[in-house]
């Protein structure tokens, strides 16, 4: 369940979900976007190995050296934990009724944006650069007629498939509206 592209995910619910609402796609940023902080964490983790080069560190009391090394690894762990939680919980959801963007901007601040499928006016896919083209991920910009005019699914995998799903849902909603089956 830590995938970046989940089609009809099981055992997934979100706040304010309607009882009949079905999640069709759960999207996160492409895993390759995590490479930057993972490399940074590896760099920070191996840094204490070079501390013995500096004579002043050897001059410090043994107990202090132990505790300061543990403290260093705690900082690295906190960094990794925050980055992972940020990746894991910042998601975009497409249901059969609406699109939802969940953002946790910092430790305890949550932003939840949604728009009905009916309100989608235009969908734009942006895939630029070598890495994005190679790994097949990009931004999906969704213009809506709702109060919040644009929702962006950032760096999501297989943006063309996302667009296709949105197009099919819009057609389905239009069909439901014409047949008077609006929920």
């Amino acid at each position: 369940m830590a995938s970046a592209f989940c089609y009809y995910p099981k055992k997934v619910n979100f706040i304010n979900q309607d009882p009949e609402e079905e999640i069709i796609l759960l999207l996160r940023k492409h895993p390759i976007t995590n490479v930057g902080w993972i490399l940074t964490a590896i760099g920070l983790a191996i840094l204490p190995a070079f501390l013995s080069v500096f004579p002043f560190f050897e001059a410090l009391p043994f107990g202090f050296r132990i505790i300061s090394t543990i403290v260093w690894y705690m900082i690295v762990f906190a960094f990794v934990l925050e980055e992972y939680l940020s990746w894991f919980f910042n998601v975009n959801i497409i249901t059969d009724e609406r699109i939802i963007e969940i953002d946790f901007l910092n430790l305890i601040y949550r932003e939840l944006t949604d728009a009905d499928i009916d309100n989608i006016e235009d969908v734009t896919v942006k895939v630029g650069g070598g890495i994005r083209t190679f790994a097949n991920f990009g931004d999906v910009e969704i213009q809506t007629a709702a109060e919040i005019v644009q929702i962006t699914f950032e760096a999501v995998p297989r943006p063309d498939v996302v667009t296709k799903v949105l197009r099919e849902l819009r057609v389905e909603e239009e069909q439901e509206r014409l047949e008077g089956r609006v929920r």
Binding site: M1, K11, I15, F64, I67, S68, V71, F89, F104, L107
Partner: protein, 74 residues
């Protein structure tokens, strides 16, 4: 005690206090992480939620143990 020894003791005391202060702050941070994970899990229920929540409690326990260890060693 000559002057360099006094200086050394003073510097080490400051460093010890700084490390202990950091560890106290880290324990508070670990508590905030638990709150954060709860908030995230309430917003989005996923299969891995319970494991992440357990990890956040282990993180807090570890932070408290390191603080205790630092109080003993330093």
């Amino acid at each position: 005690m000559n002057i360099p020894e006094v200086l050394e003791t003073g510097v080490m005391s400051v460093l010890n206090i700084a490390v202990l202060a950091f560890l106290v702050l880290y324990v508070l941070f670990a508590v905030v992480v638990i709150k954060q994970v709860k908030l995230m899990s309430e917003t989005l229920e996923l299969e891995l939620d319970q494991y992440i929540e357990i990890a956040s409690y282990i993180h807090l326990t570890f932070a408290i143990l390191v603080l205790i260890l630092a109080l003993i060693i330093l």
